[in-house]
């Protein structure tokens, strides 16, 4: 582990960055936990506007007793037409903890949305994004990015720098999380809200429907969990104690 001197090139993490980082971390844990709970209640995913137990699923996850439960009365068609849509009454007592699951998800959502927006605005106006996150012109090369990927796969991880001085792959992954995955997960979440889509119907258009939004929300959250795992592994590999210190009380 190299010890680096603190000069303008090696400034420590800003306090607002650290605060936003940890608030969002905690809210992310609550969101993933409750999101998992909600997935267990209806572990079927669809594309388009409509999806329910009486319509075909894109895929199903065997994550709760609700998986392919089959507790339905005989289907009754709504009309005499061929292939008419049907209704069926559910007889099965499903797993459902959405009462607290949903409310905790949305409460945690506020702790992602508000600090996230402040972080986003501050990131633009303080130059944090431009100086530390956006790859520099001399870095913008696929070959350099590929080399960095190879180094990471070989577990050749640069030592901690105690501040926002990131490698190319590291920058790229942060950019994907901040400018792509986070906006997508917030907006697909809102596309599942009946009140919000009534006010902003374009959300249903850009995500191809309420159920597509739910499916994209699921994949975006999976990608974020994958990012979190890799992120923590990299923190450990580059010097856990030092990284945690510089991201909390350290200067």
């Amino acid at each position: 582990m190299t010890h680096q001197t603190i000069d303008s090139e090696h400034a420590p993490h800003k306090r607002w960055v650290k605060t936003a980082h940890w608030i969002i971390t905690l809210s992310f844990f609550a969101l993933v936990f409750t999101g998992g709970e909600m997935t267990m209640v209806h572990p079927r995913f669809y594309w388009g506007e409509v999806g329910n137990d009486l319509t075909p699923a894109l895929f199903e996850l065997p994550v709760s007793r609700n998986y392919q439960h089959g507790g339905w009365e005989k289907s009754v068609p709504f009309s005499e037409a061929v292939n008419a849509p049907v209704s069926a009454a559910r007889t099965y007592n499903i797993f459902n903890q959405n009462g607290w699951g949903r409310s905790l998800h949305f409460l945690a959502g506020w702790f992602l949305l508000v600090p996230g927006l402040i972080y986003f605005i501050a990131g633009i106006f303080t130059g944090h994004f431009r100086k530390h996150l956006w790859p520099k012109a001399k870095e913008s090369s696929l070959r350099l990015l590929w080399n960095d990927v190879i180094n990471h796969v070989r577990m050749q991880i640069p030592a901690a720098t105690n501040g926002p001085h990131y490698g190319l792959l590291q920058k790229s992954s942060y950019v994907v999380v901040i400018f792509f995955l986070m906006p997508v997960i917030v907006m697909t979440g809102m596309t599942m809200s009946p009140a919000i889509t009534a006010a902003y119907p374009f959300l249903l258009k850009i995500f191809f429907g309420a159920q597509s939004a739910r499916t994209i929300h699921f994949f975006a959250s999976s990608a974020l969990v994958l990012f979190l795992i890799v992120h923590v592994v990299m923190v450990i590999k580059s010097g856990f104690k030092q990284q945690i210190r510089s991201m909390t009380v350290g200067k």
């Binding site: 909600m38 997935t39 209640v41 209806h42 079927r44 506007e49 409509v50 999806g51 329910n52 137990d53 009486l54 319509t55 339905w72 009365e73 289907s75 009754v76 709504f78 009309s79 849509p85 049907v86 209704s87 069926a88 009454a89 559910r90 499903i94 459902n96 959405n98 009462g99 607290w100 949903r102 409310s103 905790l104 949305f106 409460l107 506020w110 809102m190 599942m192 809200s193 009946p194 009140a195 919000i196 889509t197 009534a198 006010a199 119907p201 249903l204 309420a210 159920q211 739910r214």
Partner: protein
């Protein structure tokens, strides 16, 4: 009539904005549902206030084409006759004896039979039902706008909440913004036929810009109140615009 609605909407927004500060001061948020000291209910109220303050109140939920109508599971109570004798009796006579009393803060309290409701101008729309469980379904609903009935009963200016009682023992309420929303109807028809028993016959509520469980099935009684009528913490959010 139109003017009255505008005042109601504006009032609701102003109440929402003022309660934003009220939420910070304990026990100072009269127009909001109680939180029971539960942080989850406080979060629900924050979402309620924010959506009321930030979203244009009367925007219509997306309406679909007839060909978009989908299969539609019946969940929750699917026939109250199995435990409610009153309902079983009404069902036996095809709901000919069913009436819907409207009481409370109205100048002309009274009861409406199914035929009475069907005499009012009806509204039909094809909308997406969003269940809290995660599934959605598209159905066509026919009924009388709740605003029509409230005006027919002479809703008083002091009124703030519309409370609904159901034959399957559920109690719930909505605020005036949702009550006077053009797509909020007392539905007696589904997909061009009488409302099936599994979907809430003879009449159910449809609140198209909230989650499915606000659209109460098997309506028994409507009570208009000036204050939030506290049914106790069910463990579920009262406002479910999200």
């Amino acid at each position: 009539m139109e003017k009255k609605k505008i005042i109601t909407r504006r009032k609701a927004i102003i109440t929402g904005l003022t309660s934003l500060g009220g939420l910070l001061l304990a026990g100072c948020s009269k127009p909001l549902p109680p939180t029971y000291g539960n942080i989850l209910r406080m979060g629900d109220n924050l979402t309620y206030i924010a959506q009321r303050a930030l979203l244009p109140g009367q925007s219509l939920a997306k309406e679909y084409n007839y060909s978009d109508i989908s299969s539609f599971p019946a969940t929750g109570t699917t026939n109250p006759a199995s435990f409610n004798e009153d309902y079983a009796r009404l069902q036996k006579k095809a709901f000919a004896d069913w009436v819907l009393p409207i009481e409370g803060s109205v100048s002309r309290p009274g009861s409406y039979s199914l035929a009475d409701l069907q005499k009012f101008p009806s509204r039909t729309h094809i909308t997406r039902h969003t269940c809290e469980e995660g599934w959605t379904a598209i159905g066509q609903w026919t009924g009388v706008p709740l605003s029509t009935i409230l005006q027919s009963a002479g809703i008083l200016p002091s009124a703030r909440f519309i409370n609904f009682y159901a034959y399957d023992t559920f109690i719930d309420s909505i605020d005036l913004l949702d009550a006077f929303h053009p797509q909020t109807i007392l539905a007696y028809g589904m997909n061009g036929r009488n409302l099936p028993i599994a979907h809430g016959a003879p009449v159910r509520l449809r609140v198209e810009n909230q989650i499915g469980y606000k659209s109460m099935k098997y309506l028994k009684r409507i009570v208009v109140t000036d204050e939030f009528l506290d049914p106790g913490d069910s463990g579920w959010a009262w406002y479910t615009g999200i």
